[in-house]
């Protein structure tokens, strides 16, 4: 048995040795750097943390490491040529980006995609929402220390990517839609394969939930962590599941329906506390709602053309349009100004990740360092979209 006094004396010795560092130890604010090369920042995000011991006093995000000047590129490409570029912003939800862009240009051109194209667009976009949420769940759980969900979600996401690959040849940056509709008709057996996926996937959501929803470690790590109120969300412009988890029942698919979402029956899941756990629940529920939407869309898939009449050389009349959609991460908006030529005069992308990331500082204040990881995960940002 060791003498407690002896240990104490030992400590005093160490403190004496470090006496020259006394000013440093006395400081109650410590600035440390996290990233940009950090496995838990989901890409090249650099966070400068101001700490008081283990507690976060505030933080500053340093972004732009992945800036490619997408908006500038847009001004130097024709409307059609710019279409594939949008896939490379939020590359885990490329189909949503394409939908937003195509619909915005269609508004400028004053054309509408035919019903069949709209249905296929909804199916692919909702599949993409599931894929995006799966990737979020796997990596978010991994950050917090649960390794298994990552394997489950990646295993199941593969099935969605297979459908994409069969449809258009690409898995991630799909370039699935064209201005005015779709380039490709669906392949033989498309409906059946999508339905098979839904039947396969429905029990998988329960499987994910079994692993996490009542898991004590998960609950302890996420409940009351990174809470943000509805008022703060609105003031900061935060949208998507983060806003809904704070109790605001707002989803652009319902509020200002685009594509043909108004024909489908689905609910907007909301949370109460706006904490990391609620955001988890909201996204799980959203996957179930996406399954509902896809099911209805496949059942009611109409026959008909897949491409509206659009000119080969697109020259939208001079004018400006802002159009936004509910991407998996929040409101994704495009503001396109045409001067009547073949190239946009200005393409502005309003990325949900960029605006949502602004809330990180507020959400992390007063939390522990380990929770910063959880909060970055729960915001579900993609740096390709933050930096553009």
């Amino acid at each position: 048995m060791t003498d407690p006094n002896a240990t104490l004396a030992h400590h005093v010795d160490i403190a004496d040795l470090a006496a020259h560092d006394k000013t440093y130890l006395d400081a109650n604010e410590l600035v440390i750097n996290m990233g940009p090369q950090h496995p838990a920042t989901h890409g090249v995000l650099r966070v400068i943390l101001r700490l008081d011991g283990e507690k976060v006093l505030g933080l500053e995000c340093v972004i732009g490491y992945l800036h490619r000047g997408v908006e500038k590129i847009g001004e130097h490409r024709t409307y059609t040529m710019f279409n594939p570029y949008v896939d490379r912003m939020d590359y885990v939800a490329a189909v949503s980006n394409g939908l937003g862009y195509c619909e915005t240009v269609e508004k400028l051109l004053n054309v509408e995609a035919p019903p069949r194209a709209q249905h296929v667009r909804v199916i692919l976009t909702e599949l993409n929402r599931i894929a995006s949420h799966q990737l979020w769940l796997g990596t978010h759980a991994l950050d917090i220390g649960a390794i298994t969900p990552l394997f489950y979600t990646f295993r199941d996401r593969e099935e969605i990517l297979k459908i994409y690959e069969k449809y258009c040849g690409a898995r991630l940056t799909t370039h699935a839609f064209r201005i005015g509709g779709l380039q490709y008709e669906t392949y033989t057996g498309f409906e059946k394969e999508v339905k098979n996926f839904l039947n396969f996937f429905r029990p998988k959501i329960d499987e994910y939930e079994e692993l996490l929803t009542t898991n004590r470690i998960w609950v302890e790590r996420t409940k009351n962590v990174g809470a943000i109120s509805a008022e703060d969300c609105i003031a900061l412009g935060v949208t998507g599941p983060v806003l809904r988890a704070s109790g605001v029942k707002w989803d652009l698919r319902k509020a200002q329906p685009y594509a043909n979402y108004k024909n489908f029956d689905f609910d907007i899941p909301i949370g109460e506390n706006g904490d990391t756990y609620d955001r988890y629940l909201v996204r799980m529920a959203e996957m179930r709602q996406s399954v509902r939407i896809i099911e209805q869309a496949v059942d009611a898939l109409p026959e008909g053309p897949i491409m509206a009449k659009v000119p080969k050389v697109m020259k939208p009349p001079a004018g400006e349009v802002y159009h936004s959609i509910e991407a998996p991460k929040g409101e994704l908006g495009y503001f396109i100004v045409s001067d009547g030529s073949t190239q946009p005069y200005r393409v502005r992308v309003r990325p949900p990740s960029f605006v949502n990331l602004q809330a990180l500082d507020l959400m992390c204040r007063g939390e522990l360092v380990a929770d910063v990881i959880a909060v970055i995960g729960t915001l579900d940002i993609v740096l390709g979209e933050v930096d553009r």
């Binding site: 972004i63 500038k72 130097h76 200002q256 001079a318 908006g333 200005r346 309003r350 602004q358």
Partner: protein, 251 residues
């Protein structure tokens, strides 16, 4: 349905659209002049398409070559089609109220079913405040800008606003000159912070009273503001090659 799947558009029929010898084709025609300055004649190939074999070679960077509203060169293509849609006046109780208090400083317009108002620069802080506090536009969706180098007031700054209570989206637009500043709207919407920083980064428009007016996406030492029309896309590349490799850029 297979009929609908058309082969890719053939190249434009007339040779006029081909780039001239000293004009890079792929990158949209931004070139460095021998003097080292960079000119943006990016709309040139497009306008040549619009006016087949008509005009003599357009002069780059003159006001006519890059005019923004209904370019003169685009007119020959237009008559065959329906009349070009133009913004119409936007009428609503809110607009009438604002018009009542600010008069001709506000021009409410509608285009493609979307409402926006062009507001005089001097009214900006007040209008935004009123829209936020009295008209319930509590969500600042986006702030961005446009550059029209040939105009006296070179920049359009655009606020996209949304109201949860009214489920309504509007845009507020104003014109400012190069070097002029705008009051920051961070006190009105906290979320304007990064959006205004991005406008500064990309266009060089400063917002007075912003808590942290510095670049956001580009490094602090970056030269120029990339989304200005006179910022060529090869500028940075040429400079880097010259400084670091000591040779002429191959681009």
């Amino acid at each position: 349905m297979p009929d609908e799947i058309k082969p890719p558009a053939p190249p434009p029929p007339d040779g006029d659209a081909k780039p001239t010898a000293d004009e890079p084709a792929i990158l949209g025609g931004v070139k460095a002049t021998p003097s080292g300055s960079v000119q943006a004649d990016d709309k040139l190939p497009a306008e040549k398409l619009a006016a087949p074999a008509a005009a003599p070679p357009a002069k780059p960077a003159t006001p006519t070559a890059t005019s923004n509203a209904t370019p003169a060169a685009a007119k020959p293509a237009a008559p065959a089609k329906a009349p070009v849609p133009a913004p119409t006046t936007w009428d609503s109780p809110m607009v009438a109220k604002l018009k009542g208090s600010y008069g001709s400083g506000i021009e409410p317009l509608t285009y493609a079913g979307q409402n926006y108002m062009v507001v005089d620069r001097s009214l900006i802080p007040e209008i935004l405040q009123v829209l936020r506090n009295e008209e319930q536009f509590d969500y600042c969706v986006d702030i961005t800008a446009l550059h029209y180098p040939q105009r006296e007031k070179q920049f359009d700054v655009v606020w996209v606003l949304y109201s949860f209570a009214r489920n309504e989206r509007i845009r507020v637009k104003t014109q400012i000159a190069d070097g002029a500043t705008l009051p920051s709207s961070v006190p009105i919407w906290a979320g304007a912070n990064w959006l205004e920083r991005e406008v500064f980064d990309m266009f060089g428009i400063k917002f007075d009273g912003h808590p942290d007016m510095k670049r956001i996406l580009l490094p602090d030492g970056w030269k120029g503001h990339p989304l200005r029309k006179d910022y060529g896309i090869l500028q940075q590349d040429n400079e880097w090659v010259q400084i670091n490799l000591g040779i002429e850029s191959g681009q």
